[in-house]
Symmetry: C2
Subunit: 374 residues, 2 copies
């Protein structure tokens, strides 16, 4: 049986991002049992590094055993019960998904909408909370991967907490690339992915639950609808021993062992670089890309762009799929197509983690100029 080894790509789409060899080497470490003391130490170390990268002291901070959307579903299915009212901010595909996921958990969802590419002013969220005093949480996407819009979060928790609600944040495309202070910003529950600015392969979804979220969990009337993502059980595995809980670990499910090695290594790289330096590197890469694209006459779609994901309008007359295919085939560069209402109208260029470099920026600019010229 001859399986072909994949050819390398330069991943400059909406994720996955390029994975350093060091992380791939860690990924291929010898598989351990999920209750092996060695593995438990690795898991504890991973959770501790996650806390540092998320800038939180929340004991319940761990990687969910699935990709980013599993993290969204984990938070929704644990914090929402049938009959709950929630507010979800929708300014792109991922806000829309959060609405769908919360509805499947039985919530009545009140939407605060903004046009695609825009962000949502905090006043509009305050108004929604006034209109819906029973809302138990506000869900919002920090980095909308479908539009490249960068939603400001600082100061929002005060507004949300004043109404007795929780702040739930999707940080899939911001964690490790943009400033994100879970504790300082008062975020009550947050999820992310490994394959964006952490530059780890996809397969885990870091989440963190603060005190308000745990209190909500403890007050549940019925079990979370998902067994696999049930935090009332998961915390007995992740919090015992090394964490705050004490006592013996309780087996829940087999975690993706090797993925944990990779995440630990990826987080170690983030902390070696330093969060501030890493965020500054993403900013610099974005500015260099933006200057180059605008020199070529290309236009950014969002009014307030992410550094990590650059969403530009496809220029008049350019062949969407053909351009992306040529970048892939001639240069081995992957960029992203438009998603949702932006399909056929936008390209998405990711500068995430290991991929946010001067070298990649200059290469993609040269490649795009060459392909668009012909």
């Amino acid at each position: 049986m001859n399986t072909q080894f994949p050819h390398e790509r330069i991943l400059m789409g909406p994720g996955p991002s390029p994975v350093p060899q060091r992380v791939l080497r860690a990924l291929a470490g010898p598989t351990l049992g999920h209750l092996d003391p060695q593995y438990l130490a690795i898991m504890d170390e991973t959770c501790e590094m996650l806390r540092q990268v998320m800038q939180t002291r929340n004991p319940l901070t761990f990687p969910v055993s699935g990709t980013g959307m599993a993290g969204m579903e984990c938070i929704a299915s644990n914090l929402v019960e049938p009959g709950d009212e929630v507010i979800v901010c929708v300014q792109g595909v991922f806000g829309g998904r959060m609405k769908d996921v919360m509805e499947r958990c039985g919530a009545t969802v009140h939407v605060v909408e903004a046009p695609w590419g825009e962000t949502i002013p905090h006043e509009r969220i305050a108004e929604a909370l006034d209109r819906n005093p029973r809302a138990t949480l506000v869900g919002i996407v920090h980095a909308e991967t479908s539009t490249g819009a960068h939603q400001p979060l600082e100061g929002l928790a005060g507004i949300v907490h004043a109404k007795g609600a929780m702040l739930v944040v999707d940080a899939v495309t911001s964690l490790g690339g943009h400033e994100l202070r879970v504790d300082d910003w008062g975020i009550d529950a947050i999820y992310s992915g490994t394959q964006k600015c952490l530059s780890c392969p996809p397969g885990l979804s870091p989440v963190s639950f603060g005190e308000r979220a745990l209190a909500r969990l403890d007050a549940r009337k019925r079990k979370p609808q998902s067994w696999y993502l049930d935090v009332t059980m998961l915390r007995k595995y992740y919090l015992s021993g090394g964490g705050a809980g004490g006592g013996a670990r309780v087996y829940h499910h087999t975690a993706p062992i090797n993925m944990t090695y990779a995440l630990r290594e990826a987080l170690a790289i983030v902390l070696e670089e330093g969060l501030d330096a890493r965020i500054a590197r993403h900013a610099a890469a974005h500015q260099r890309l933006r200057a180059g694209l605008e020199r070529m006459g290309l236009r950014y779609i969002p009014s307030r762009s992410l550094h990590t994901l650059n969403c530009i309008a496809i220029p008049e007359g350019a062949d969407d799929a053909g351009t992306r295919r040529r970048l892939l085939e001639e240069y081995g560069i992957e960029i992203g197509a438009g998603l949702g209402v932006m399909a056929g109208k936008a390209w998405r260029i990711g500068l995430m983690g290991h991929g946010a470099t001067v070298r990649n920026v200059d290469l993609v600019l040269a490649a795009l100029a060459s392909v668009l010229a012909r």
Copy 2:
């Protein structure tokens, strides 16, 4: 940041099983995008090999993006709707979990129980179907990892289908180690894990849906409660292009790319060896282990033991945790503790995939004899 590389273990517990270097090398392949034509070809190839190993022609056969329990939840949340009545066979921890998962999906669960270690005669399932004519499915565990009991399945589908119900099978600890003929045995939906007899790291859960299951899916009144595991959307990604669906792939979520490389390689190894030879190897390893254990005076708990998981009573006077710890520390061998009602009463010795060898059998026998003698 100095992360420590894990020391190798000889994994002879209830899973994960030992992973061949060839699979670990594949795992560390360069990460691709989930819509890259290269990756789609790898995914299609993986699904095709899964069909061969599962002995099915079901087009909808693919790895769910989570560990084994995600597969159970995928099948339950897609095939069960609130108000459904179902029958679940419970003869250990995993049957009990299936009951819990189906209840969380809103089903009324009628249980057919057997004492731990026993299997369930098909007549008892027929009686349960007679008593509960509205039951839409029968869920049963083929290889109960908590007790080591090997549940016969051949002939059961006829009984279940005659009553208009579906047969849903947990094959986590049997796929690739025991005979398992999805089509010939009339199984309508099945899930497994990668980290048992396929000898791949944990992180994916192979599932397959037959025609009856797809018809049930199409007849749903409301969306599956899980977005992440929603097969009505997932099939647009897994079935288009290479599969039976035709048309363009529809992005759903980012799959665990590198884990797919590993699973493809692990399946290639299974097919190179040949299913029959592999099953015979597991049987021979089990017989050799069983003979050795019984010579030492140790007793098997289940009346009909799996080859892949050997559940033995802890001998009088032996120190449960101390024995397992010494096996781990002195020999680097992991065996499993008892689970559920068997905690403190049983050890579970896995002979799965790459680990089902004469060498491992003789080593664990020698190690156990030495540790128990002192």
